[in-house]
């Protein structure tokens, strides 16, 4: 496995300089690996993980997850509709899922109204969308692997021990 990819998956928040040291490569080599992964469409990009409940980070703090039922189309199945929905800027992630509905869509907006109007005006009016069920997110406890609030990595380990 690509050594840089392995470290990316492990998820430590390392700079490319640190990645290089850990993998035993030069920084230039790490960048080459990243470029290669990008060309292969495996590594898509960097994103910060933020605690959006904090005032300073609240610009796009309203988030909702929407269950969408659609009619699959002959020839294209769910893909054409899913891709169409995924292209909206408001949509952060979009998945085809098994179960009682078809698509699970994560959206984000500056205000409740903006998200609500995206659902009522854009999403539910697309031809083929049968129904939507929107859940606004009230509070986040864990964001992409990071616990919010309770940080148990800050332990009181002794500085010197046998």
């Amino acid at each position: 496995m690509n050594p840089v990819l392995k470290l990316l998956i492990d998820g430590g928040s390392l700079t490319t300089g640190q990645l290089a040291q850990v993998a035993g490569l030069t920084e230039a080599e790490v960048n080459q690996h990243l470029e290669q992964l990008r060309r292969e469409g495996i590594f898509l990009g960097w994103r910060p993980v933020l605690d959006l409940s904090r005032e300073a980070a609240a610009a796009l703090a309203v988030r909702a997850v929407i269950e969408v039922k659609v009619t699959p189309e002959r020839g294209g199945g769910f893909n054409r509709l899913a891709e169409r929905i995924a292209r909206f800027d408001e949509v952060e992630s979009c998945y085809l899922v098994s179960g009682g509905y078809d698509l699970l869509v994560f959206v984000r907006g500056a205000t409740l109204q903006r998200v609500a109007s995206f659902v009522s005006e854009k999403l539910s009016t697309i031809e083929g969308v049968l129904s939507t069920s929107t859940h606004f997110m009230l509070r986040c406890y864990k964001e992409q692997g990071f616990l919010l609030g309770t940080d148990d990595s800050q332990t009181q380990r002794l500085n010197v021990a046998p």
Binding site: D10, G12, L14, Q18, Q21, V22, A23, G24, D152, S153, T155, R157, L158, N159, V160, A161, P162
Partner: protein, 393 residues
């Protein structure tokens, strides 16, 4: 009449030296708040995986707050027996060949108290874990240190054993992989040691607490070699591989009459290990292996990183095959291990442990624990490099 309270302290305790680590600990403690990076620890930086903590919480909720059987919960002893057979290739009966203890620390104490008469000779390889020699002194035994060397990657050799052996030697204490050197033995080396133990009729106490943290090849337990299970006490625990130091839980396995002897001491001195810790340990054995592997991978990469960086800085460092300690030779700096450690701490705020804390054979070395996040390891290596380059000028 003397008024000095000291007169009540037993003679062999009064003469017991304090751990060399203790002084250093106090020095580091004084520098609190000064951005000290500590490579002086002897425990994982990982918090115990949540499923283990959650199992212990659940046990408390169900009111598991009582004593257990002296030997430990039978469910736990069964899991231990299965685990040891799978991972070490030695079969122990859960009913009478396994005892659950308050860490390997208690298991060691039980073993020394159960097997060592006053004056009995106990051999141990050195540099070694700080407790071995004092524990032998506590039971009025006599310690015989067997040196291990950097050029052998700190593996114990049968030749060194033979050279150090004295008539009357009764017990051999092993710790492979070793704290502080990370040294281990190949199967071949272990076979020679085993042959020596059979020849001299030695009882082996094998502290294998770092065995899961073996990075190259697989770990071999001396207990699994032919003719050895009957003369070996296998000591193991959850502190290192399962990141459970504060739970205080470990175990010993061995021939039933020997476990029974340890059990006598345990039942009067300790009664049993904490039931909550036993519940956590049970969960760790049942579902914790993936986490052990995940943590080992991290240690492995950190080891490669720190050893490479130390060597680049001009501190000769062998590749420790196991444990989470690097044990570089610092003599090239012209400083003693003590001056090196103090200077590094004072000037660059990195704590390492002077090698002499691990016995005379640790002279010229320091122990740097790499159970610390990558960015901290990198920063510590940068600082060590600046310190060493500064000395050159």
């Amino acid at each position: 009449m003397s008024t000095d309270a000291q007169r009540w302290v037993a003679g062999h305790i009064a003469s017991l030296p304090k751990s060399g680590i203790r002084d250093f600990f106090e020095l580091v403690a004084k520098m609190k708040g000064q951005d000290v990076i500590s490579l002086g620890v002897g425990e994982p930086d990982f918090v115990t995986p949540w499923h283990v903590r959650e199992a212990a919480i659940y046990a408390l909720e169900r009111g598991k707050t009582y004593y257990t059987s002296n030997l430990g919960m039978i469910e736990l002893r069964r899991e231990i027996s299965t685990y040891v057979e799978q991972h070490f290739g030695v079969a122990y009966r859960p009913e009478d060949q396994v005892i659950v203890t308050v860490g390997v620390s208690e298991a060691l104490d039980l073993a020394f108290r159960a097997f060592c008469n006053p004056g009995d000779k106990v051999m141990f390889h050195q540099p070694c874990y700080v407790s071995y020699h004092p524990s032998i002194s506590l039971v009025h035994g006599a310690g015989i240190a067997v040196p291990t060397f950097a050029q052998d990657n700190f593996a114990l050799t049968a030749a060194a054993l033979r050279a150090a052996w004295q008539p009357g030697a009764k017990i051999l204490m092993l710790n492979l992989p070793c704290n502080p050197t990370g040294g281990t033995c190949t199967r071949g080396q272990l076979e020679e040691i085993a042959a020596f133990c059979r020849e001299k009729d030695l009882l082996v106490l094998s502290d294998e607490i770092y065995s899961e943290l073996t990075f190259e090849g697989t770990h071999t337990s001396i207990a699994s070699l032919p003719g050895m299970a009957e003369r070996t006490i296998f000591l193991h625990g959850f502190s290192k591989a399962f990141a459970m130091t504060g739970w205080r839980i470990g175990y010993a396995c061995g021939p039933a009459p020997l476990i029974d002897a340890m059990m006598k001491v345990h039942q009067y001195a300790m009664m049993c290990a904490s039931i909550i810790a036993q519940e956590g340990a049970l969960e760790a054995l049942k579902h914790g292996w993936d986490n052990v592997v995940r943590m080992r991978e991290q240690y492995h990469r950190r080891r490669d990183l720190i050893v490479r960086r130390l060597n680049e800085s001009g501190l000769a460092c062998h590749l420790p095959r196991g444990s989470f300690y690097a044990f570089p030779d610092i003599t090239a700096t012209g400083l003693s291990e003590k001056d090196f450690s103090f200077g590094l701490l004072q000037q660059h705020k990195v704590a390492v442990v002077p090698g002499l804390a691990f016995g005379e054979n640790g002279r010229g070395h320091v122990r740097a624990c790499f159970a610390t996040a990558y960015d901290q390891v990198i920063e510590a290596c940068d600082r060590i490099d600046r310190f060493v380059q500064g000395l050159r000028k």
